[in-house]
Amino acid sequence: MIRVQREDIDVGAALESLAAGNHRIGGVASFVGLVRDIGGADRVSALTLEHYSGMTEKKLAEIETEAHRRWPLDAVLIIHRYGRLEPGDRIVLVATASSHRDAALAACHFLIDWLKTDAPFWKSEETPAGERWVEARAEDEVAIKRWKLRP
């Protein structure tokens, strides 16, 4: 399941509903991304996330399908927020449910790595020096390569 929303994420409720009623599920893995108060050397007082409405939902649905193709998963949940967020706020929740932990943990890791390099979101930070766009990190490009997604 995919959700792109401005509202906060209720992690407890989301994880509970992911496994509800399916007793074949042996474990739920999750990753929660939070807004940091530091960007480079500067203090960050807020972050604004912009996204490409339409393409975001399309790409998230494709990668959800890809995760199901790679691992025996019972459920996948990706909730990504947009709009203005402050340090400590939740940005994203990725959760995967499976009979066994290996599939759930690996798929969760794959999905968050993918979100960093391929989901069409952009962050802009508010700092004492003014507002600036966050630059993509080379480490994220390295991280996604381990999943051999691209030819």
């Binding site: 399309k58 960093k116 766009w133 993509a136």
Partner: protein
């Protein structure tokens, strides 16, 4: 053709979207970026370094050789920073 711009590309170009009539010689993404740059001003500034420009056609990532057709939705943006 509908063009969409995001993040600092939108800020430098000065609009989020526009309808354009492509000259017949523009046939692919590389041609489109060249043509936009030739408009000068914010376009030239935003598209100066194409190593930090990504393009999606009809909401799929494409390379510079991807052909363009009338009615395509073309989005131009910096490397993404979500998650």
């Amino acid at each position: 053709m509908k063009l969409l711009y995001f993040a600092w590309l939108r800020a430098r170009i000065g609009c989020a979207e526009e309808e354009v009539e492509l000259p017949p010689r523009v046939r692919d993404v590389a041609g489109l970026l060249d043509w936009l740059r030739s408009r000068g001003g914010g376009y030239a500034e935003a598209l100066r370094d194409l190593s930090i420009v990504r393009v999606a056609v009809n909401q799929d990532y494409v390379g510079s050789e991807h052909p363009l057709r009338e009615g395509d939705e073309v989005a131009i943006f910096p490397p993404v920073t979500g998650g």
